[in-house]
């Protein structure tokens, strides 16, 4: 009995040994993504199909995670069972992983593929300690989306300065329309407001120094930002109860003409159009000027792909990133995503909002990522909570700024 078993086992093992080299010729890449929404999912499927067509010996397996769940899942899979490629975000948002040695240094392909030229606008946000840690594939603009019909009905021109914007708000308020709407229950939409208030009041360099912890939150210049911001909040020009609303919950207000404007990222266009708005009723304008003479900087969050340090097939992963950085690949996926390609040789899809956004970003003096990507995570959380409180109770401003200053002292020390 046992002899038979042993022989068959030996045969099996020999068989396995024989077949192993054959299997190894078909190499595999595991790619974990947070592309759970239809458009990003389609974009990555397209990207992978094109890559496989160009490299028939590599098979890419995509693991799609829920967009929100991914943010916690990545910490587990990077250490426990690393894929060969993983989605993430640029700026300070990737710093914890870089510092913990979880992302692979890919400066070599940045050099060999000339990415410093083609992906120039994102190079700074991909660089830590003089090395590059990932490849950006898409970004999008932030700005003010508005209901054109309401503007026409109430005789409001698109404002270019903060005074004009506030004056327009007074008109809308008189007509019992929310001048601007948002939903801050997930906190980050409020950070968009702070970014723009601070970028327009104090400029890009100050904003970056603040998010890097080099300037106290109790600084007079920060107070000036909040004083300007209060001009919007104190008279009630912002949707009441925004703290109970998700950003999607606030969209119907814009669609139904109960709110005139919405400060948001370009990803809001798709759902607004689904809800019935068209290029005739939905418009876009850059955030108005506050302090005259401050060079215009914009929020333009960049999404990226990285190679985990524990990846099994780093060679093909590098090939994949190089492919993804190419002008053609970025043109193709961003046409599906309806976002902007980072590669400056790529073409921007013929969509009025993207064309306008592209124009706005390419003439901007500098691009910020977003508050929660520019500031370290803990500061981002404390800050966004403070912004939400300020947007509900502007009179608490002193207490909020002191709390943020305490947090800064602890977080950056």
């Amino acid at each position: 009995m046992s002899v038979v078993t042993r022989t068959s086992l030996a045969l099996l093992m020999a068989g396995a040994a024989l077949t192993a080299p054959a299997a190894a010729q078909q190499r595999t890449l595991v790619f974990n993504t947070d592309a759970s929404d239809p458009a990003p999912k389609a974009a990555f499927d397209q990207l992978v199909a094109d890559f496989e067509a160009a490299n028939p010996d590599v098979k890419v397996t995509i693991n799609t995670f829920d967009h929100e769940g991914y943010k916690t899942a990545i910490r587990n899979f990077l250490t426990a069972d690393a894929p060969d490629l993983a989605n993430w975000y640029a700026g300070n948002r990737m710093a914890p992983f870089v510092e913990a040695g979880q992302f692979e240094d890919i400066s070599d392909i940045w050099a060999s593929e000339n990415m410093s030229e083609t992906l120039k606008s994102a190079e700074a946000s991909m660089t830590i300690d003089g090395k590059q840690w990932g490849v950006p594939y898409t970004y999008y603009q932030w700005g003010i989306y508005y209901n054109k019909s309401l503007f026409a009905e109430h005789g409001v021109e698109v404002p270019t300065t903060w005074e004009q914007f506030i004056a327009a708000c007074a008109k809308f308020k008189a007509a019992e329309i929310d001048c601007t709407t948002t939903g801050t229950s997930q906190l980050w939409p409020g950070a968009g407001w702070f970014d723009y208030m601070n970028l327009r009041t104090n400029g890009y360099d100050f904003h970056m120094a603040l998010t890097n912890g080099e300037i106290p939150w109790t600084d007079d210049r920060v107070r000036a930002t909040f004083t300007e911001w209060a001009k919007l909040i104190e008279p009630g020009y912002l949707t009441a109860n925004h703290a109970a609303l998700d950003w999607q919950d606030a969209m119907p207000l814009l669609v139904q003409g109960k709110a005139a404007t919405y400060l948001m990222g370009n990803f809001i266009v798709a759902p607004l159009k689904e809800a019935g708005m068209t290029d005739e009723t939905l418009g876009f304008f850059p955030f108005p000027e506050i302090t005259p003479g401050v060079p215009r900087a914009e929020d333009a969050p960049t999404d990226t792909v990285h190679i985990p340090i524990g990846a099994k097939n780093k060679e093909d992963a590098r090939k994949f990133l190089a492919f993804m950085a190419s002008a053609e690949a970025q043109t193709k996926i961003n046409a599906i995503l309806l976002q902007l390609p980072v590669n400056n040789q790529s073409e921007v899809v013929a969509d009025p909002f993207l064309q306008q956004g592209f124009e706005m970003l390419s003439t901007a003096s500098a691009l910020a990522q977003f508050f929660d990507r520019d500031a370290p995570p803990e500061m981002a959380k404390a800050g966004m909570e403070g912004f939400q409180e300020f947007m509900v109770k502007p009179e608490n401003v002193d207490r909020i700024l002191e709390r943020l200053e305490t947090a800064r002292a602890r977080i950056y020390n």
Binding site: K71, R75, T79, L187, N241, A244, E385, V392
Partner: protein
């Protein structure tokens, strides 16, 4: 394979069988309990003395996490909310008892009514949370519109720091009352009819009947109802997470949610600080748990 003779070992087994057997039966349980309960507790407590982001190296900080905790406004907000939860959750056992007594009658279709009342406990807490968020939602929520119709201005309960915790507790009480009701309904089934009959002959009725005859017989049900309610109040995490995410600006946090936020949420990853919060929550729970255990042991000795 012929069985080997192993006389000394067999006789050791025979000698010590009585002493060893209980431990053998307990072994799987002890092993599981140690691996999945005791070890994690000790490890969490140990972790609370470190600064660790879950990826890099752990750094020993001594009691710094606790020092920071006792100087943290958010911690006191969470603690205060936990106390409010505990106090208001204690409404669940009496409310459950009232409904149970109301439903404890023989009418056609009483089973349907009973199951309808029990329904909120069957559906998931997440669904309860979502339903109540819509109920409170500004502009289209039923409650919001009702208040607007009554007073002229709507109140967005979940965006108002004055009401938000109470709003969530009401959502939590709904299934908790159903749970207590079912405990009391089974308790009422076991009431000795002779005692009720005897009491009736002695002229007891109404409150006196309830207080002196029914309630003493419901003591086991009351005990369980209070225990599950206390635990339910202290571990209130899901509703806070679903309905408000701790907001607006952190005013509806409870300790368990704050721990999750600090240790595991998107902007958290302060494992040590989260562990310190967990240690405090554990200490609070231990007060109740040891009280319950002490009572159970005493009851068992007295032979209830």
């Amino acid at each position: 394979m012929a069985p080997r003779t192993d006389a000394p070992r067999r006789s050791w087994w025979r000698q010590n069988q009585q002493r060893v057997a209980p431990w053998l039966f307990l072994a799987p349980g002890i092993l599981m309990f140690t691996v999945y309960v005791l070890w994690p507790i000790v490890d969490s407590l140990w972790l609370s003395f470190f600064d660790w982001d879950g990826l890099g190296t752990r750094e020993w900080v001594g009691t710094a996490n606790y020092a920071e905790l006792f100087d943290d406004d958010a911690f006191y907000t969470s603690l205060k909310n936990n106390v409010i939860w505990l106090v208001l959750y204690m409404l669940a056992p009496p409310a459950g008892l009232a409904i149970a007594i109301f439903l404890n009658q023989n009418v056609t279709g009483i089973r349907i009514y009973k199951s309808l009342f029990f329904f909120p406990f069957v559906i998931s807490q997440v669904v309860v949370g979502l339903m109540f968020s819509w109920f409170y939602a500004p502009n289209f929520g039923l409650f919001y519109n009702l208040i607007e119709w009554l007073t002229g201005t709507g109140v967005a309960v979940l965006a108002d720091e004055r009401f938000v915790t109470y709003g969530i507790i009401v959502a939590g009480l709904w299934p908790q009352i159903a749970y207590c009701m079912i405990l009391y309904l089974t308790g009422l089934n076991n009431i000795a009819p002779e005692q009720v009959e005897a009491a009736r002959l002695d002229g007891a009725r109404g409150w006196r009947m309830l207080w002196h005859v029914i309630l003493p017989q419901l003591r086991p049900a009351t005990f369980i109802a209070v225990v599950v309610t206390v635990i339910g109040a202290l571990r209130s995490f899901d509703l806070v997470s679903i309905m408000t995410n701790g907001g607006p600006y952190g005013t509806s946090r409870v300790l368990s949610f704050y721990m999750y936020e600090q240790a595991l949420s998107e902007y958290g990853y302060r494992m040590g600080y989260g562990a310190a919060i967990a240690a405090v929550l554990f200490a609070i729970m231990m007060i109740f748990i040891s009280g319950f255990i002490w009572k159970m042991v005493r009851d068992e000795r007295e032979g209830y």
